[in-house]
């Protein structure tokens, strides 16, 4: 059996009919499906050792705490953090970016300081910085984009200057699949003393991420795009930075001592984890990491790359179809437009054939504006997709054209 067929067996949701057709799930950039081991981990937690963590001295609390902290260790290893304490649990990528904006940003950025983002950013890596700029008088600057969907690096030195204090960059574009040269930008940013946050939401399931090799200051991602549960995110931060930052939310867990006069804060990572966290989903995230490590991210990526090549060639055969985003380095995401047909209509007709894609602006309205589009249709692939899925998409699009052209 083929690699992807073996992996596919582990995802119960994929084995169903939608609108009378076998499901073709090509909306993986929005969220990946969950393997049985992750689903099992969730129910095992609730069936066997649900308890609130860290302060309970009973058996269940200790077991839950230990599983919770095992995930932290596992993530630290997965992204090669120097230590587990540099791994903060959040509620998602958006939450992680807001955390950094509201703590690091509020404490260390001042009026006139520049925050640099790129044209490819998701709204979640634009709006938190705009809010900060409004409050602190910082200036938001944007790295321009080439027609290929790649950042215009010829101009980068005009954007990374002595005024740049923070660079917040998407690692892989959710809308186009472009892989950004984050290493080069981190190095340039550090050369002028700026800190760098990388939004790894779309990268984490597809690319090897080594935060120490990158020397990145903050790296954020979501569990649910990594075969894990929804409602969990990771903020990696360098210890010295995390320690220098004030807490984000106040409450339980994040304190050392509370009196009505003054509260002292807990150590990292707990300082940033106020309140009861999303224990079950965090525990189950470890199974998602185990799943990826079992098959190997590079083997998974190799298959996804093969799908990308196959799908790109197949889609290019369709008359009137134009692929948006033709970067040399891409993950298996294909955004496209069909001449004269609104993306939403494409999505509706594909859905009738059991094919799930995403249509619209992909939470990147400034990017769509730059490209002069109202939106695109996006097929995003994962390791469990097959060439048959690509064939079904192509047939589905021929039907779309028959209906709508």
């Amino acid at each position: 059996m083929h690699f992807s067929e073996i992996i596919r067996q582990e995802f119960p949701i994929l084995h169903q009919s939608v609108q009378g057709h076998p499901l073709v799930y090509l909306d993986n950039a929005a969220t990946t499906q969950k393997p049985q081991v992750v689903i099992d981990a969730l129910s095992h937690y609730y069936e066997g050792y649900n308890a609130n963590i860290h302060r309970g001295i009973h058996y269940l609390a200790e077991k839950a705490t230990s599983a919770f902290e095992e995930t932290r260790k596992s993530i630290a290893r997965f992204v090669n953090a120097a230590e587990p304490a540099e791994v903060i649990f959040t509620y998602g990528t958006t939450d992680g970016i807001n955390l950094v904006a509201q703590t690091y940003g509020k404490s260390f950025l001042n009026a006139g300081d520049e925050i640099l983002i790129s044209t490819l950013e998701h709204h979640s890596n634009i709006v938190p910085w705009q809010m900060l700029c409004e409050e602190k008088g910082c200036i938001l600057r944007v790295i321009p984009l080439l027609e290929t969907g790649e950042l215009d690096l010829a101009q980068i030195d005009a954007f990374i200057t002595e005024q740049t204090k923070l660079v917040s960059l998407i690692h892989v574009s959710n809308a186009l699949g472009t892989i950004n040269p984050v290493q080069e930008i981190i190095d340039k940013a550090h050369a002028v003393g700026a800190k760098v946050l990388v939004d790894g939401a779309q990268a984490i399931a597809h690319l090897d991420v080594d935060v120490q090799a990158l020397d990145v200051d903050f790296y954020v991602f979501s569990a649910h795009k990594l075969y894990g549960p929804t409602g969990v995110g990771i903020l990696y931060g360098k210890r010295a930075l995390l320690e220098s930052m004030p807490p984000y939310r106040g409450g339980g867990e994040m304190i050392k001592e509370v009196t009505f006069e003054k509260t002292t804060y807990n150590e990292i990572p707990f300082k940033f984890e106020a309140g009861t966290p999303n224990i079950a989903d965090i525990v189950a995230l470890k199974s998602a990491v185990d799943f990826v490590e079992q098959y190997g991210k590079s083997s998974m990526a190799a298959w996804e790359d093969e799908l990308l090549v196959y799908a790109t060639a197949a889609l290019e055969q369709i008359d009137g179809l134009k692929i948006i985003g033709t970067a040399a380095h891409k993950i298996a995401v294909i955004s496209f437009v069909l001449e004269g047909i609104h993306p939403q209509d494409i999505g509706v007709i594909l859905d009738q054939q059991g094919i799930a894609v995403r249509t619209g602006h992909h939470c990147t309205q400034p990017l769509m504006k730059r490209l002069g589009l109202v939106g695109t249709t996006r097929a995003s692939f994962s390791v469990y997709n097959t060439k048959e899925d690509v064939d079904r998409l192509v047939m589905g699009l021929h039907k779309v054209k028959k209906f709508l052209a």
Partner: protein
């Protein structure tokens, strides 16, 4: 034709279709046939919020009745708009407010009115009812 008669007529039309393809061909056809809204009425305030595609709704009140005109840049949505106009345009505010919409369920397009669809048809119906309410209260 009363509002309910208009709903029943559409249900009868859709009964003739055997599969989704026929149904969507019909909807697309309706979309193509619906005259576009005059650019004069494609104003910011006539845009229905919450849509993946832009949908416009324009209302006129004449001789005690509300007349609706709509448009969309997506053809299937435009077809669905056409169905809503067939049913809801040309009635008194009182009739609009007192009648339940059941035809969408009956023709198997309920999912298009669901929140998740983000095509704004639910918002469109709400907006039509708001016009009816405003005119019935004489606040416009």
């Amino acid at each position: 034709m009363t509002l309910n008669e208009a709903q029943d007529a559409i249900i009868e039309d859709f009964d003739l279709f055997d599969d989704w393809e026929q149904k969507y061909e019909y909807i697309i056809d309706l979309g193509k046939k619906l005259p576009g809204l005059d650019s004069l009425h494609k104003t910011e305030e006539n845009i229905i919020k919450g849509c993946q595609s832009v949908v416009w709704l324009h209302a006129e009140y004449r001789d005690g009745k509300l007349y609706f005109y709509g448009d969309s840049e997506a053809i299937i949505v435009k077809g669905l708009v056409s169905l809503l106009l067939q049913v809801l345009s040309g009635h008194t505010p009182a009739e609009l407010l007192s009648t339940e919409l059941y035809f969408i369920d009956k023709i198997g397009l309920a999912s298009h009115l669901a929140q998740t669809r983000s095509n704004g048809l639910a918002s469109m119906v709400k907006q039509m009812k708001s016009y009816a309410l405003a005119y019935s209260l004489g606040t416009v």
